[in-house]
Symmetry: C2
Subunit: 196 residues, 2 copies
């Protein structure tokens, strides 16, 4: 299968998560690996590209992220709604969720984290920035994006191109309780710069 | 005009921002007040209800938030796309953006912050939790939600009810460069609990 994924310039990385998609957080340490769902993430800086994501301290993911100093965010498309919700309901301590849910992952280019492309719209590999207090008090983990890529059928020239022809790849946004919403119509502000 | 806003239980407050809407951050200190746009916010805790929002240290908003120890997040609906983008382009140091953009605000019930209901879908009043390091290193401000309300025509019983009949009230999600997307179809995960 030909991959439609193309690298995303790091100065455009924040655009991938700017609109609040739910993400799959992947992690690996030695032979161990895991995937969980997270609705709570946001960019915090354009340059260097930095993001924050909430990873509960009780999770297996948090254990692996702390051990390895790295995590990846993969953005599931609408095709992965069921998988995204399911991996948020069980722990990777008791089963390999990649195998259980038939999730195909390969090592990322910079940090070797499990990268999911099939069914996803984009991914970001991130190096954890150790912030013990934020991690402890708010389960908030900061990371610097060191590599990113997106499916060119839905993200091109630093911009999402949501449309009727790419509904399966569109990002999903958790409303709670297993209910998700996907992007609808795009609107351009009256005073937006030309070429936006 | 009859207000359609109803209080949101604090244990449901995270639901308001779970799907990544762009928000208007309002602030006040003494006679001064301001409003800015922020695409970067997320919940960090259900109970107590806590959120994080990125407020650049150079902004007038940050100055007022630091002075008062409080901020509010108001969620603009699609009717406010132009205003949302516009208030993100200028500083409240040189003009009263409420007056300039004809934004109607009233004091919030707990902290007295400027609350915007006309054109908005929901709002949250938050008490700043002082975290000097996160504020300094990542412009990330943590807050505890002390009051919240939403328009019952689009948020009811702790759940968004996006549909064709309430498009004007739907949240907006900034893609970058003045381009926004609104929610489209809602999807329910196969293994979601009954009643979700």
């Amino acid at each position: 299968m030909t991959s439609h994924f193309r690298p995303v310039a790091l100065n455009h990385a924040s655009r991938l998560v700017n609109h609040g998609p739910t993400v799959l957080v992947t992690s690996a340490a030695g032979e161990r690996r895991n995937v969980m769902a997270a609705a709570w993430s946001m960019p915090v800086e354009f340059t260097p590209p930095r993001i924050a994501v909430v990873i509960d301290k009780s999770t297996y993911t948090r254990e692996l992220v702390t051990a390895s100093g790295a995590f990846a965010l993969c953005l599931p498309g609408t095709a992965l709604v069921d998988v995204t919700y399911a991996v948020g309901q069980t722990s990777g301590r008791t089963e390999d969720k990649f195998a259980r849910h038939h999730i195909d992952a390969r090592p990322g280019p910079v940090l070797g984290l499990p990268i999911i492309e099939a069914g996803c719209a984009a991914w970001l590999e991130c190096r954890l920035i150790r912030e013990p207090h934020s991690e402890d008090a708010y389960d908030t983990c900061f990371g610097e994006v060191v590599a990113a890529a997106a499916d060119a059928r839905i993200f091109e020239n630093g911009r999402w191109t949501f449309g009727d022809d790419n509904a399966e790849l569109q990002t999903i946004h958790h409303l709670g309780g297993g209910r998700f919403v996907r992007p609808g119509g795009t609107m351009l502000a009256a005073s937006a710069p030309a070429g936006s």
